[in-house]
Amino acid sequence: MTKFKLLLSSALVLGAFSGAALAQDALASDPEGLVALINEFGYEATLTTDNTGDPKIELSTGGDVGSEIFFYGCANNVDCEAIQFVAGFDLENGSTFEEMNSWNKNNRFAEAYLDDENDPFVEYDLDLNGGGISRDNFRSIVDGWAGTVGMFSGYIGFN
């Protein structure tokens, strides 16, 4: 009986601890898991692949502005190590280096830059390797990204 009780309590404790830590962590090696989490957070995420066959997530965080999540450090299109949130904006007259600099100086997390047509991009890189991050931490980051996309599109006068 004592032994049985021990077994039971061990199983319960292990289940509670390692389950919470392992099963719900956000990892770049689990794109399906990330998509499920993002949808659970109330955004729209669809899993697809980029032109090299690596996973890619198409993301809608509200409004007319879409963004994407690219995967990095993959081996043969799986076991990826990092992700990158990106939103690009096709503007009629582009933006300026000064505007990008001002954004980068005054806003944390995402960095802004122009492509060769002077169209602005905003991106944030997230390492999701080595144990990953907790579900709640990932939610906080995705919420932050949604806020960034909204603020940045307003900042550059998109729409």
């Binding site: 004592t2 032994k3 021990l6 077994l7 061990s10 404790v13 292990l14 601890f17 390692s18 919470a20 830590a21 392992l22 990095y72 990092a82 990158q84 280096f97 000064e98 990008m100 600099n101 980068n104 100086k105 944390r108 997390f109 995402a110 960095e111 802004a112 830059y113 122009l114 492509d115 991009f121 890189d125 390492d127 999701l128 390797n129 080595g130 144990g131 990953g132 991050i133 907790s134 579900r135 709640d136 931490n137 939610r139 906080s140 980051i141 932050g144």
Partner: protein, 156 residues
């Protein structure tokens, strides 16, 4: 004997999951962050910024950098950190060069101040459960590499 062996095994397994879970890196525990950095060989001096929030003075790739804390209330319960370094250049840098760097390099955010001197920063959300120590170590290593590459880029 069986019971003893079982207790032992349970203790060991719990210790293993404790390492993965209980000691996640969170911005609300600056002492633990400084301690981890010291364990990994960084000079990490925990101090306070001008607003009374925690700040860690450290260095990597031959330059000083800082760990700033954000989202704090009354100097505690912070939720985010920022790794940051700045370079005082004799002639500054151009916005074109910054843009080229930014479009090609991940894990950083670079801007110029009024004197055209570059600052290289990376923000990490360490709220609500935080991240594993292993991942935090990798983030620091990423930033160190970026600092090294950036110095080469600006001929520091």
């Amino acid at each position: 004997m069986t019971k003893f062996a079982f207790l032992m095994a349970t203790g060991l397994t719990l210790a293993a999951s404790g390492a993965a879970w209980a000691e996640n890196v969170v911005a609300s525990d600056p002492e633990a962050i400084a301690k981890l950095m010291q364990d990994w060989g960084y000079r990490a001096e925990l101090t306070k910024d001008s607003e009374g929030d925690p700040k860690i003075n450290t260095s990597a790739a031959g330059v000083d950098f800082y760990v700033y804390f954000y989202g704090c209330s009354g100097g505690a319960d912070c939720t985010e950190i920022q790794l940051g370094a700045g370079f005082d250049l004799p002639d500054g840098m151009t916005l074109e060069a910054v843009n080229e760097w930014s479009s090609q390099n991940r894990f950083n955010r670079v801007y110029l101040d009024e004197e055209k001197d570059p600052f290289i920063r990376y923000d990490v959300n360490l709220a609500e459960g935080g991240i594993s120590p292993e991942l935090f170590k990798e983030i620091l290593a990423n930033y160190e590499r970026r600092l090294a590459d950036f110095q080469e880029h600006i001929n520091w």
